[in-house]
């Protein structure tokens, strides 16, 4: 037994070379890499991530994905059924069946059926109505368009609503609004939450006490009545954009508290961590301690918390708009779309009007799974 201190032996000499390489890669892997490696193993979260990237792409370029301008109505074409895309007709094909309508003599209502005999050929990256990419660049390019631009037969992939507007195009535009409201509101509440939570957690004392009491006060108020009251107070005369921003603000105002708590809790716990004390003893300034040591330790947790907050926001917006207290037509959001499905008759007559609900479910589920995956991956050391 030697008493001299020698450099530690290499990772045991019997280890196989490839496992050595792997061990080395892990040794020099930064935290983000470890988080990514862990996250990769979470299959469902990876799938959710892909789904969300798709949804986000749709939300970024709704015009490209829609087939008709979302506000274009057709008084003669209400409640038309979805036209499913066919990919096979004795060989690869790409078309929808046309619809034909007849007035029901008893109810005097137009009733539409798919006309198996007549097809409307489609093409990918075809030309359609003009829209502006990112609100700036006018283009007529669409993912799916009628192959022959001269035909006057409309296509409604998800049918039409009461006013004959194209449900698919509206859903796609609603995705943009609902998702962006969720993101913006979460961004706002994250900023407020991190700022106040950080002050509260790092400095403590009086600031902490005041902020904590405010948080407790806000958390003790039941959120639904507050939302209802606040949004009911928004003047009806406000423009769509103003209402949009106001709703975002209202959502953020109430939800920052939980993020602030999370951030404060982390700061409090971190302040006592030995490595933070060690940083202080190494002569680091407060700024350096906060930004070099504490924030990087928290950010993966914050990202996870934020991801889990977005679906809550989306649900809240949908809920408010559904009740007619959030966004109002002509704005389009999932909540506004679902408002159309409010009465039983239209649900019975046109069940496709419920499809925005499915979009909400898929998005919220995917965000929740992704958030869970991130949260699990955020702490590779435990």
């Amino acid at each position: 037994m030697s008493v001299e201190l020698q450099p530690e032996a290499e990772i045991s000499a019997v280890a196989k070379p490839d496992s050595l390489d792997k061990a080395d890669a892990v040794s020099v892997a930064s935290n983000w890499k470890l988080v990514w490696w862990r996250f990769r193993k979470h299959r469902l979260a990876m799938v959710s991530g892909v789904v969300l990237i798709l949804i986000a792409t749709i939300a970024a370029f709704p015009g490209f994905f829609s087939t008709q301008a979302p506000h274009e109505s057709d008084s003669k074409g209400s409640f038309m059924p979805p036209q499913g895309i066919h990919f096979w007709d004795d060989g690869p094909a790409f078309f929808v069946n046309a619809t034909k309508g007849a007035r029901n003599p008893r109810t005097l209502r137009m009733e539409w059926v798919l006309d198996e005999g007549e097809t409307i050929p489609l093409r990918l990256f075809g030309r359609g109505y003009e829209w502006k990419a990112l609100g700036l660049f006018p283009t007529r390019l669409h993912l799916v368009a009628v192959a022959n631009p001269d035909t006057d037969k409309p296509i409604h992939l998800l049918g039409t609503d009461r006013l004959g507007r194209d449900q698919w195009s509206r859903l796609v535009h609603g995705t943009q609004v609902s998702l962006s409201i969720g993101l913006l509101a979460v961004f706002l509440s994250t900023v407020i939450g991190i700022a106040l939570g950080g002050i509260s957690g790092y400095f403590g004392g009086l600031a902490d006490m005041v902020i904590q009491r405010v948080v407790e006060l806000l958390q003790s108020i039941p959120p639904i009545p507050i939302w209802l009251a606040l949004s009911a107070a928004l003047p009806r005369s406000w423009s769509v954009t103003t209402t949009y921003l106001a709703i975002t603000g209202i959502l953020a105002l109430i939800t920052w508290t939980s993020l602030a708590r999370e951030v404060r809790g982390r700061f409090l716990a971190l302040r006592e961590e030995d490595f933070v004390v060690a940083a202080k003893l190494s002569g680091c300034s407060q700024m350096r301690i906060v930004f070099r040591h504490m924030v990087p330790t928290m950010n993966s947790h914050i990202i996870a918390a934020v991801t889990l907050a977005i679906p809550v926001m989306i649900i809240n917006e949908t809920f408010l708009s559904f009740l007619g207290l959030g966004l109002r037509p002509p704005a389009i959001s999932w909540g506004v779309l679902l408002q159309e499905a409010q009465n039983l008759q239209s649900v019975a007559l046109a069940p496709w009007l419920l499809l925005p609900g499915l979009a909400v479910i898929i998005t919220v589920l995917a965000l929740n799974i992704l958030g869970d995956g991130l949260r699990d991956a955020a702490d590779p050391y435990h």
Binding site: P7, E8, V28, V277, L281, S282
Partner: protein, 366 residues
Amino acid sequence: MPVDEPPETKQTLLEVNGLSKYFPIKKGVLRKILGQVRAVDDVSFAIYEGETLGLVGESGCGKTTTARCIMRAMDPTAGEIMFRKASGDMVDIAALPEREMRPLRREIQMIFQDPYGSLNPRMNILDILGESLLVIGGMTDREERSERVAELLRLVGLRPEYMQRFPHAFSGGQRQRIVIARALALNPRLVVADEPVSALDVSVQAQVLNLMLKLQQELNLTYLFVAHDLSVVKHICDRVVVMYVGKIVEVAPTQALYEKPKHPYTAALMSAVPVADPRQRAAMTPLEGDVPSPANPPSGCYFHPRCPYAVDICSQQQPALEEGAPGHFVRCHRAAELSLSGIGDLDRPQTVASASSSDAGVGPIG
């Protein structure tokens, strides 16, 4: 190590006078202060240049709090902490604002108990060890820093190639070496080690103790060594301070303390150490009861409810810390009359180090 040094050249490096740290007990919405935890209560001792001073006691007796007050990781409630700067002047660091404390941090460094919690998992070894070089040392050149870091890693017995790695790639013992390297980055004169081996495995503990001894000799370091393991303290310390519920109960040179403890608590602590020899199964009578809370300590001598030798006066009057023998301070009413037995083996030859320090007649101030 202070080998054969005449006592007069033995300089005080740190002198703690009447150090206290109270934590308020707060309750309710308005955080009303209901009472105080006297975690450290009027503690005084001195550390001499080149020695290792042990600080022992059971959980909650205030060892970490004392260490952190000296490091100014906490602000003491009261008391003086006089530190002799490299220039020879004494400064009271207890009241120094952080800005003025910062340059002194290069001279006082700390080793932590938990090798997992004390390294930032988000930084690689180069950044961890280079931080104080950059922040206090003003070494802005990355090349220069990495050279120094390589040197430090070699010093603590790790390979310099490891500097790109992150802490998660190291075992507990290796991490503790990194923590030691960080403490040594700026050539400190005083190293405060808070239970540096308590969290380590037996086989790794010996490596780290050897390393600390070697470094002390090579770099002429002074250690304040906090521990609860009496065997470890016996092995590494020249003098020992024993604490109980926030107060010092005994201070003595190691050999004297282990051979002839004068405080009943010290004796009880020693008899409770499980000796790794089945032939020495203790016929001991363990202490009754538990350590009292520092928020609500007993009257008189804090030890009287558990003390087998307690007499009436013990519950009424708090004994003072008195020098019973040269360099041997005890806080007990009956210290002079009691004859307690320790565990130090009298037959063995004394080591040079402990012999010289027990001759020195050194003790706490006040």
